[in-house]
């Protein structure tokens, strides 16, 4: 192992006394590609699973940073779009009905030393009891970058993702941003919404050339070198103020979609009471065990000598972690899962 120092202060482990609610077999912290695959594997092993992610969608870095990029190095797919890979992983995991808690960050952990049950705490105050946990937290909790103009606006109408475009039917929509997701949202909404306006603070777009071309040929109004400076309306958004140089423009707006990118934060991982090295990684052994009994790590956040951060690598680590966790929580179980092709599929 490379020489590394433990440069975080480990919060003293708290102890939970009484547990009355449901206890999961395996909790998965982080629903990126690795966590989703872990959820599938835990389900395949017949274990109850909860997947927790700070984002309101699954898919981690792939969903947040490059849903429209093609990936060429996932085993079995000569090429696959990021969002298609996530869709496939999500479907595969859903086969065994895991619980998903989205929009929730895990911010703490305690343990009952008699039963060895861990209790995870989320930012909203929820408690999740589990026999084992897999930390597949990647580069930390993702949250969308906030829209500065929304700071003084508390009404309805601000969105960071669009899970269901039909909810924006016949509405005036303003999209803010200059990346792939901003443009993709505009192109997706142009047939659905009453009007679509894209506001970008620069004149260049950081997106696929073909989609930028399609954007400029579409009915979407594109306002560049401009910023949304105010959201107007009381309980509900009605209008936005856009500032372009010295000019102030107003547009009717029922919904504003902020596609400004994401922040990743490792602070909550450090609060789990597990050794974190180099301020962002968790050291694991060949079973993917961390320094805490019953807590495993896989994917970008897990490290060991020779680690390569790739989706394919994370898949293998997730399978190793889950199968070892299964034996840890029930020593009568076999480590080898059996072949999925045999019967269970």
């Amino acid at each position: 192992m490379t020489a590394t120092t433990h440069d975080n202060e480990n919060p003293a482990e708290e102890v939970t006394s009484e547990i009355t609610d449901e206890v999961y077999d395996i909790a998965i912290i982080g629903g990126g590609p690795v966590g989703l695959y872990g959820a599938y594997y835990a389900g395949f092993r017949g274990k109850s699973v909860v997947v927790i992610d700070s984002l309101s969608v699954v898919g981690g870095q792939v969903a947040a940073l490059y849903p429209e990029k093609k990936i060429y190095d996932v085993a079995g797919f000569p090429q696959i779009l990021g969002r298609e890979l996530i869709e496939g992983l999500h479907q595969q995991a859903l086969k065994y009905n895991p619980t998903f808690l989205l929009g929730e960050s895990v911010t703490g952990r305690s343990v009952n030393l008699d039963s060895n049950i861990h209790t995870l705490k989320t930012a909203s105050g929820r408690k999740i009891h589990t026999r084992a946990a897999l930390i597949s937290g990647g580069v930390g909790t993702f949250t969308p970058k906030p829209l500065p103009a929304a700071r003084n606006f508390s009404g309805e109408g601000l969105l960071y993702f669009i899970p269901n475009p039909t909810e924006l039917q016949d509405l005036d929509v303003v999209v803010v941003g200059g990346g792939d997701s901003a443009i993709d949202y505009c192109l997706m909404l142009k047939e659905v919404a009453k009007s679509v306006t894209l506001v970008h603070r620069r004149s260049e777009f950081r997106a696929h050339e073909a989609s930028v071309k399609e954007l400029f040929e579409s009915s979407v109004e594109v306002i560049t070198d401009a910023e949304v400076t105010s959201l107007l309306g009381d309980d509900r958004l009605e209008k936005v103020e856009i500032t372009k140089g010295d000019e102030v423009i107003y547009r009717n707006c029922d919904r504003i979609v902020a596609a400004l990118g994401f922040n990743a934060n490792v602070a909550s991982i450090k609060a789990l009471g597990i050794d974190v090295i180099e301020n962002r990684h968790i050291l694991v052994n060949t079973k993917m065990e961390t320094n805490v009994d019953g807590i495993y790590a896989a994917g970008d956040i897990a490290t060991y000598d020779g680690k390569v951060k790739l989706i394919a690598v994370g898949f293998g680590e997730a399978a190793t972690a889950i199968n070892n966790a299964v034996v840890r929580i029930d020593p009568k179980e076999h480590l080898a899962p059996g072949h999925s092709s045999d019967n269970k599929g």
């Binding site: 440069d7 940073l65 580069v139 990743a264």
Partner: protein
């Protein structure tokens, strides 16, 4: 395979790149900014934000700028003038603020 900041940043330092970085791994020296190659997740979000075209993927830096690949690394791994030890992997530039000193290479430019 991180991104690196080359000499074009010197004197501009508008920090547009800092706003784009999802992992906050772009740190401020005195007259230039530096990307921590260990913390960078290679997402490329900073590159189009730079008005001077100073940001490149490490294996694609333009001719004459090759030394900055190592120099971005040195900023974090060597002890900079007047400091007690290397900055290392601080876990985010917001945590440490502006460092206010440059590498030897950049001080000489």
């Amino acid at each position: 395979m991180p991104y690196v900041i080359t000499s074009q940043c010197i004197g501009t330092m508008d920090k547009s790149c800092v706003d784009e970085c999802p992992v906050d791994c772009i740190y401020e020296g005195d007259k230039k900014l530096y990307i921590n190659p260990f913390e960078c997740i290679d997402c490329g979000a900073c590159e189009p934000a730079c008005p001077t075209n100073a940001i490149w993927q490490d294996r694609r830096v333009p001719e004459g700028e090759e030394a900055h690949v190592q120099d971005n690394k040195d900023f974090f791994e060597l002890t900079l003038l007047g400091r007690e030890g290397p900055i290392g992997n601080a876990g985010g530039s917001q945590m440490v603020g502006a460092i206010g000193v440059d590498t030897e290479l950049v001080r000489g430019l």
